[in-house]
């Protein structure tokens, strides 16, 4: 649920990038950070290991601007993708308003995609949430890999019911990055005032 600060007339939303290790979650945030003009973004915070693997989370605040007298802001987070960081991953989901699931197109990561989605469902359940309760956007990343799996195959293991809006991406080049963020933002905003 969004956090509203009436005194400062702010509405804040928390969007979490989830997915298996090395699928490109941090790359998404880095691209966004590099392209959003100064004044519309805060500092990017990365809690990473020396070899640049996310240890706890990355964080990037974005200002959408003022809407009906309310400053509207998005706080973007990534979770650590590596399997053994689940305790940290669970903490980041607290109070989430929307999720981008970043899946990897590499054939040898198909199982990791499925496991990460299952893990996300389990972690959400600990907060009494279901995937169906939240805006979720699926980003199928690394479409530039020569052996990239067909999108439908990736989708079949993470979203067999075809419920989530899906975007193809090459996050290293920014392809699909803003489209994904825009869609999840739109879905999150659509719930404001709807009682969801």
């Amino acid at each position: 649920m969004s956090t509203i600060n009436f005194a400062n007339r702010e509405i804040n939303f928390k969007i979490v990038y989830y997915g298996p290790g090395l699928s490109g979650k941090t790359t998404n945030l880095k691209w966004i950070y590099s392209r959003i003009p100064e004044g519309r973004k805060g500092e990017m915070v990365s809690l990473a290991t020396e070899d640049e693997r996310t240890l706890f989370f990355d964080f990037l605040p974005l200002d959408l601007g003022e809407v009906k007298g309310f400053k509207t802001r998005f706080h973007l987070y990534t979770v650590p993708g590596q399997v053994f960081y689940n305790a940290s991953r669970k903490l980041i989901l607290r109070g989430v308003d929307g999720i981008v699931f970043v899946a990897d197109s590499a054939p040898n990561r198909l199982r990791a995609n499925a496991e990460s989605m299952r893990n996300m469902r389990e972690n959400l359940a600990e907060y009494g949430l279901k995937v169906e309760d939240l805006p979720v956007v699926l980003q199928v990343n690394k479409r530039d890999l020569p052996d990239a799996l067909p999108v439908e195959m990736v989708r079949a293991v993470v979203d067999p019911e075809g419920r989530f809006p899906t975007f193809e991406a090459v996050a290293t080049e920014g392809r699909g990055v803003f489209e994904t963020l825009k869609e999840v933002s739109r879905l999150v905003l659509a719930r404001v005032g709807s009682g969801a």
Binding site: T3, V67, R94, S185
Partner: protein, 163 residues
């Protein structure tokens, strides 16, 4: 169920500011913040003499993450919770205490503020703020945002992220 959102406004917000202000005066701390467990700033006060604070968003996010990790550690060790957390460097320090289930009190202080005072008044303030947060959770405000909000926000999304 979805976690309830803690919203402070009107008289409750003013009272929270009053508590933060008084805590700054009593302790000599530089900045006092009330943040929610998700890492959003609910209210903050700065001592008049204090230099510009670091980015509050980053501060709140990291403190909330840290507090969540500390709580998880406590549970691992069979404790319901760990009490307040204090970090002290050569010149600056950080005091974090639970203000009930939904919020955290954060005090940023320098070497001139006695740690005893920080802890004593920090604890008192956290208890008062916990009661305020409880009141706020019991009486959530109705947010009268309509389709117009969504339409205007959508236009801004187009502007920021392209069509």
């Amino acid at each position: 169920m979805v976690e309830p959102s803690l919203v402070l406004y009107g008289a409750l917000y003013e009272r929270a500011l009053g508590v933060l202000d008084e805590t700054l005066r009593e302790t000599g701390a530089r900045y006092a913040l009330l943040i929610d467990r998700k890492g959003f700033v609910l209210a903050h006060k700065e001592a008049l003499w204090a230099p510009k604070p670091p980015p509050l968003d980053s501060l709140a996010t990291l403190v909330a993450g840290n507090a969540a990790a500390t709580q998880a550690l406590a549970k691992l060790l069979g404790e319901a919770r760990f009490q307040e957390v204090v970090h002290q460097g050569e010149h600056m320090g950080l005091y974090v205490d639970e203000a009930g289930e939904a919020a955290l009190l954060v005090l940023v202080f320098d070497e001139n503020a006695p740690l005893g005072k920080i802890k004593l008044h920090g604890k008192r303030a956290a208890e008062t703020l916990a009661r305020l947060a409880e009141e706020a959770l019991a009486n959530p405000p109705k947010l009268n945002l309509d389709t117009q909000y969504r339409e205007e926000a959508k236009a801004l999304l187009d502007e920021l992220f392209g069509n």
